[in-house]
């Protein structure tokens, strides 16, 4: 996987490069102190991933993203947690890592990215889906290629909206169905499931960790809407 780093702080560029050296198959092919130079480079070269600091001297990170014709995957690196929610509104942004970056957190992020590449391959192979979701007691039947496939509702970890489709991520499998978030939310029990962001529904029983405005479920990093956070916290059994 070829990646570039855009950050005007040389110290963090050096640190991030050093950490990336520890991850197999991740090659930092170039680093840039400003967005303008990075744009020139990206007009000539394709990369798989950009590590992007949001505080750049010439552009904000978001302005930079909007200039890109072909958007590679982006991992935002910043110490400004207020940007996290906005960051997750961009499809190309796959993760948000706070400075100072830790190797364990970086590895988690790269694993998540590799998984998203795999999911996209799966989506491309999946063919046509029928937008019909059936609920039978504690199971959910999804209609894929004219087959009704049973899912145990309690095995669902998260549901992610991607355009006209939803990803249903269970303990062992991911399913892609042509359906809306509203439709699936109506089929899931309110006692266990909650919409925590406009594109994410989570199974409350599967939460591993909540940190600021991010929820961790297994390897999934889920943005938590500020408006929903108090409601979520009130539903947790907190000591």
């Amino acid at each position: 996987m070829n990646a570039i780093i855009i950050d005007d702080e040389l110290t963090f560029v050096a640190i991030l490069k050093k950490l990336c050296d520890e991850i197999p198959d991740l090659n930092i092919v170039a680093t840039f102190e400003n967005a303008t130079e990075a744009i020139k480079y990206l007009n000539k070269q394709e990369v798989d991933l950009i590590f992007l600091d949001m505080h750049l001297p010439d552009f904000t990170g978001f302005e930079f993203i909007q200039t890109l014709k072909n958007q590679p995957k982006i991992i935002v690196i910043s110490s400004d947690s207020k940007l996290a929610i906005t960051a997750f509104e961009y499809e190309c942004i796959v993760d948000y890592i706070e400075k100072p970056v830790k190797l364990s957190r970086l590895k988690k992020s790269i694993e998540k990215l590799e998984k998203s590449f795999n999911d996209e391959d799966f989506e491309a192979d999946a063919g046509d889906f029928v937008d019909d979701v059936e609920d039978v007691e504690n199971t959910l039947f999804i209609n894929i290629n004219k087959k009704l496939i049973k899912i145990d509702i309690q095995n669902i970890n998260i549901v992610v909206a991607k355009g006209d489709y939803i990803y249903i991520k269970t303990e062992d499998k991911n399913h892609i169905v042509h359906a809306s978030m509203k439709k699936i939310l109506d089929k899931l029990p309110n006692s266990t499931f909650m919409k925590v962001h406009r594109s994410y529904i989570i199974n409350l029983k599967k939460i591993d960790e909540i940190e600021e405005n991010v929820i961790y479920i297994g390897k999934n990093v889920i943005p938590l809407s500020k408006l929903v956070k108090p409601q979520l916290i009130s539903r947790l059994n907190i000591l």
């Binding site: 702080e9 040389l10 110290t11 050096a14 505080h55 110490s79 100072p100």
Partner: protein, 105 residues
């Protein structure tokens, strides 16, 4: 007030002496430049631009494992964005201490 140290840099270097030296060299180069820019913006009353520099200096506090300096930088950054320099004197004391420290490493 605590004091800075090299624990974070040592941890990141993980025994790589070349990288350790390189990182210290970068910090010794970057921090004084950032402090000069910060002082310049403050003298001109450009609080928003100064806040952007404090944002970077805040990261140097992380690299020098100095929690207290990080906290005052974070507060000063937010206040500057809101148009207040109420923490300037306190922050400047930390800046002086940081510059003094990096001159010894």
């Amino acid at each position: 007030m605590g004091e800075p140290n090299l624990d974070y840099i040592r941890k990141i270097a993980n025994g790589d002496q070349e990288f350790f030296n390189k990182l210290i060299k970068i910090v010794k180069f970057e921090l004084p430049n950032e402090v000069d820019s910060y002082n310049d913006y403050m003298q001109r009353g450009c609080f928003m631009q100064a806040a952007n520099i404090v944002h970077k200096i805040k990261h140097k506090a992380i690299i020098l494992s100095w929690e207290d300096a990080y906290q005052i930088a974070a507060t000063h950054e937010e206040n500057l964005k809101a148009g207040s320099n109420v923490d300037q004197a306190s922050f400047d004391n930390y800046l002086t201490a940081m510059l003094r420290y990096i001159s010894t490493i």
